[in-house]
Symmetry: C2
Subunit: 402 residues, 2 copies
C-alpha cells in the first residue's frame, strides 16, 4: 500500500514548495481540476512551477481562463484523491519525482514545443501534469524498455493469438508491454504478458480504481500482480469519450515503439500509431490475411507514404525499437564521451546546433541534412546527454559542456 | 494453326539472311543447340546476327567453345522443331519479328550489359535467343500490360484464393497475369484469370508441347483458349531442374512487376522476385498470417533492406506497376515531345547523359542524384524514345536527336 507523503497533508497554500509532498498535493489538485492535453496550461504550470501555479489559481492571479476553469470545478479534492489512491495501493507521480518517466515523456515536451510554434496541428502532444500509478514496480523503470501493443477492439482469434505471443515474447526478452486494457487486442496483449509471468502496463482513460470495460476488472487485478495501471485522471474519473484519444498519446509516449496488431480501416488504434510517429517513435504493424477486414488498417499503415515496419515476432519488434532505442539508451552509461556513441544522425544534429543562439528543429534539419522527424528524435537524447539545451528560439549546444 | 514461313524451309546456309523465315530457322537451330542464359553466346549472336552466327558455327569459324557445344548436339533439328510447333499451333518468335516483346525484354539486354561489366554476379540476366509461343494472341501485346503472380507450390487455400482473385482483378482492369504454371500459386493465378474469361501467359521450363506437372495438361489447354504458353526451349524439351531458375528471369522480364503471393523462407518464388528487382521492376508481396509458414518468405521480402511493396488487391498492384510503367509507357503516343512526359527521374538521367562519350549507369546515377537501380529502370525507356543510345563505355544522348 502506498502512503500519502507528510507534506501532502498540509494545504498547498501553507506548505514548502520544495517539499515533495506539497508538490504531490499540488499535482493532485491540478489533475483533478484540469483535463490533460491543454497545451497553454501545461506550459504555464511548467514555467510557474506546480505549487506556485496552484496558489496563483486559488488567489485568482493566474491567467483568467485557468482561474475560471479551476473555480468551476468546485472544492479542493486533492487530499481526498491522494487518500483514496493510497487505500488502493496507488500513488501520484509528478515531474521531479524519481519515478517520473522523464526520458519517455521528454518526446511530449519536444512535441509540445513544436506545436506551440505552429508547425503541427495534430492532437495536443502535451506532457501530463501527473500520473496516477497503481501497482508495485517503479513506473520509470517499467516503461524504460517497453513496447506498446495495440489494436482493434473487435479482434479475431488470430489477432488475439499474435498479440498474446508478442507480449509473452517481449517479456521473455526483458521488455514490458504497454497497452490500453480495452477489449480485443489490448486485453490479449496484457493477458499474454501476465500468462508469461510478466509485468505489463495498462494505461487507462479513467481512474485507476475503475475497470473499463467492467468485464476487465479481473484482468486489471492480474495486471497489478507484477505490473502497473496508470492514468492521468484522478481516482473515480469516468472513461469519457474524448479521453481515449488523449490517453493514446500517452501509450505512444511511454513506450519505445508501437505495434498495431489488428485494425480495421480508420480504426482508433491507428491514432495511437500516428501519435507514435509524431513523437518520432517506431511504428510497426503485424500483417494478416488480406481477406480479413481487421487487417485492412494495418496493411494501410504498412503501405503508407512513410510505411510502418512489418513485424511478425517479438524479435523483429525489438530489432526495430533497438534501432532508435537500444544504442542511444545504452550510450550514457557505457561511454566516457557520449558523443562517441551517438548515431550518425545525432552527431550531425549536434554539429548543426549553434553555440550561442537557439535555432528551431526545421533549421537544424536543413543544416544537418536530415528529416525534421529525425531531428525531433535525437534532440531529447542529446539534451539528456547534456549536449544541447533548449533556449528561446530553439536549441543550441550546452554552454557549460564538459 | 501456325504455318512455317517459306524461308524456313530452305537451309540456313542457303537462305537470304534478311528473309524472316531464314532468321526463324536460324533461331530454331540456336534454341535447340544452346541452353538459354549463356551471356557470351547471346552477345556474340547479337553482334554477328543469328543467320551469320549459325553459318559460322556450321563452318567451324565461330569461337571454339560455341563450335564444340554445337557439334555435341548432333544433327540439325530446326526444321523438324518448326514443323512440330506448327502442328501444335505454336510458332517461334525471334528478335526482329513484330511479335518480339522488345520493350519487355530490353531490361534483360541492359542487365546483360551491366553483368558484362562485372558489377553484378547473379543468375545470367540474358535475353532469350527466341521464344516458342503457343496460342492465338500476339505475345508482345499480351505482355505489354502484364503482371507476374508467383508463389509457393505448397500453397494454402488462402494463397490460392488470393492468387486467383488477383488474376481475375487484373484481367477486369485489362491486365494479363504471367506465371509459371507450377502447382500451387502459379496454377491458382492462371485459373483465376481463365475463370474470369481472361488471357494469361504461362511461361514454361520445358517445351510448349509438354505439361509439367502432368496434371496441368487440362489447365494449359484452358490457358490456350485465350492466352499463351511460352518457352525458350524447343518442343519436346524436358523440364530439367536448372531450367526453372533460368525461366524465372523470363517471367520477371516479360511482366511489368512481380507479385509474390505465398512463399516459405528461401522459396524458389523469391528468386523470381529477386530477378524482377535486378531488372528494375517493382516487386510486391501479399501478406498473410504471421502464423503461416507459407507467408514467412513474403514477409521477409516486405521487411528487407529494399522492402517489396505490400499489396492486398489488384488495384494496389496496378497502383504500383503504374508508378513505373503506365506514365512512361503511354508517353510516346500522347506527346509530341517525349521529354515533356518523362518522369522526374527519367529527365534527370537524360540530363546526366553526356553528348559525346558514353558513361556507365553508376556514373549517371551519381550525376543525376538517384539510385543506380532507378537509372537502369529509365534507360530502356529513354532508349526506346530515341533520347539516349548505348555506345562503347555506356550511354549518351542520341546524336541525331530531332
Amino acid at each position: 500500500m502506498s502512503a500519502v507523503a507528510e507534506g501532502a497533508l498540509v494545504s498547498v497554500v501553507a506548505g514548502d514548495p520544495a517539499d515533495p509532498g506539497v508538490r504531490q498535493r499540488a499535482g493532485a489538485w491540478l489533475t483533478r481540476v484540469f483535463e490533460p492535453g491543454d497545451q497553454a496550461l501545461v506550459r504555464w504550470v511548467g514555467d510557474t512551477g506546480p505549487v506556485a501555479a496552484v496558489r496563483s489559481l486559488l488567489a485568482g492571479t493566474a491567467p483568467a481562463r485557468f482561474v475560471t476553469q479551476a473555480a468551476a470545478r468546485g472544492e479542493d479534492r486533492s487530499l481526498a484523491d491522494l487518500l483514496t489512491a493510497a487505500r488502493l495501493g496507488a500513488r501520484l507521480v509528478v515531474p521531479g519525482d524519481d519515478e517520473w518517466p522523464t526520458r519517455a515523456l521528454h518526446c511530449l515536451a519536444v512535441a509540445a514545443d513544436r506545436q506551440a510554434r505552429g508547425t503541427d496541428r495534430t492532437v495536443a502532444l502535451v506532457p501530463p501534469l501527473g500520473l496516477w500509478v497503481r501497482g508495485r514496480p517503479r513506473l520509470d523503470e517499467l516503461v524504460d524498455r517497453s513496447v506498446a501493443v495495440v489494436g482493434s477492439r473487435a479482434s479475431t482469434a488470430y489477432g488475439n493469438h499474435v498479440a498474446g505471443e508478442l507480449a509473452a515474447g517481449l517479456w521473455s526478452r526483458g521488455w514490458t508491454t504497454v497497452s490500453g486494457a480495452a477489449t480485443g487486442i489490448d486485453a490479449a496483449a496484457h493477458r499474454g504478458a501476465v500468462a508469461a509471468g510478466g509485468a505489463t502496463v495498462a494505461v487507462l482513460a479513467c481512474g485507476v480504481d475503475r475497470a473499463y470495460p467492467a468485464g476487465h476488472a479481473a484482468l486489471l487485478e492480474r495486471v497489478l500482480d507484477d505490473g502497473l495501471v496508470v492514468s492521468e485522471w484522478p481516482p473515480g474519473s469516468a472513461p469519457l469519450g474524448h479521453r481515449f484519444l488523449v490517453r493514446n498519446r500517452l501509450i505512444a509516449a511511454l513506450s519505445r515503439g508501437t505495434v498495431v496488431v489488428e485494425a480495421a480501416a480508420r480504426s482508433g488504434s491507428l491514432a495511437t500509431a500516428n501519435r507514435a510517429r509524431e513523437l518520432g517513435r517506431p511504428v510497426m504493424g503485424v500483417p494478416g490475411p488480406v481477406t480479413s477486414a481487421l487487417s485492412v488498417g494495418v496493411h494501410q499503415l504498412l503501405r503508407g507514404d512513410e510505411p510502418a515496419r512489418l513485424v511478425s515476432s517479438a524479435a523483429e519488434v525489438l530489432e526495430e525499437v533497438g534501432r532508435i532505442g537500444a544504442d542511444l539508451a545504452a550510450a550514457p552509461a557505457r561511454s566516457p564521451s557520449p558523443r562517441d556513441e551517438l548515431t550518425d544522425v545525432a552527431r550531425r544534429v549536434l554539429d548543426a546546433c549553434p553555440v550561442r543562439i537557439g535555432v528551431p528543429p526545421e533549421r537544424l534539419a536543413a543544416v544537418a541534412g536530415c528529416a525534421e522527424l529525425d531531428v525531433l528524435r535525437v534532440l531529447p537524447v542529446l539534451e539528456l546527454h547534456g549536449l544541447v539545451e533548449r533556449v528561446a528560439g530553439g536549441w543550441r549546444v550546452t554552454r557549460d559542456r564538459g
